[in-house]
């Protein structure tokens, strides 16, 4: 590939935001579809070695995506993304929250605002996701819970495994 497809990842503890930016080697319509259609989302959204399972998807303002990221051993992490604003194929705004299998949002856990924008970049597509937590305390809670849930430790194990394999 002859373009910079590297991920840009900016964490800002002062404003409690995370910004993720990346270029994809495809047209905007296709990249948009991959972000907004269940069949496609199920094929990429969970990081390795997890897989994605959708329970409900209704991509329109007021609708939501209820899905799980599943570890190879079967442990499931449920979330839902509540769509608020949709401007095809430019951007969508959604609320990201932790749920259980029934889709009930965990009231003790903070939700994050996602603003995902899609723009043309010389034949490719630039996608930017800005994740905003309401406060530093909200972000702290999410971090603490992520550690407890063990999802991050899965990735740590993977990193360690990769290091071992490289030797």
């Amino acid at each position: 590939m002859n373009f910079d497809s590297k991920l840009v990842f900016l964490a800002d503890t002062t404003n409690h935001t995370i910004t993720v930016r990346k270029k994809f080697a495809a047209g905007r319509q296709l990249v948009w579809d991959c972000h907004t259609k269940q069949d496609y989302l199920d094929r990429w959204f969970a990081p390795e070695p997890l897989t994605t399972k959708t329970k409900h998807m209704d991509f329109r303002p007021g609708g939501y995506w209820h899905y799980a990221m599943i570890e190879p051993q079967g442990q499931e992490y449920w979330s839902r993304l509540d769509y608020q604003t949709i401007d095809p194929i430019d951007r969508y705004i959604a609320l990201d929250g932790f749920t259980d299998e029934t889709g009930t949002v965990n009231p003790d856990m903070p939700q994050a605002n996602w603003e995902v924008t899609f723009s043309d970049a010389s034949g490719h597509t630039l996608v930017q996701t800005v994740i905003t937590y309401r406060s530093a305390e909200d972000l702290g809670k999410v971090i603490a819970m992520g550690m407890e849930a063990g999802l991050t430790s899965t990735l740590e194990r993977l990193d360690k495994l990769l290091l071992t394999l490289e030797k």
């Binding site: 497809s5 991920l7 080697a25 990429w44 990081p47 390795e48 407890e148």
Partner: protein, 114 residues
Amino acid sequence: MENYSHDLDTAFHALSDPTRRAVVSRLMRGPAPVKELAQPFGMGLPSFLKHLKILEESGLIISSKEGRVRTCEVRAERLTALERWFDEQRAIWESRYEKLDGLLMNLRGEKDEL
């Protein structure tokens, strides 16, 4: 693991206040005496010392006294804990987007075959 979570909670509580965030930002540039730290904030010294106490209890900063001057500095390893979480988030996005790169390549291939 539980302690680690608790530590992060405390650290984030400490960082939830603008004055305390500003103090940590300032200290990232190097140690500073309490008097100098307090100066930009137009609040009484007792109130300011309360903020410093919360920061110290969270483990984000330490202070030491030499003669009549108390100097504060950040504890880099505590901030590292936060950075680690962000690193893990980055790893999630990297992995997720690697899959999307692959999916897009497949989908474009399918289209070309039509």
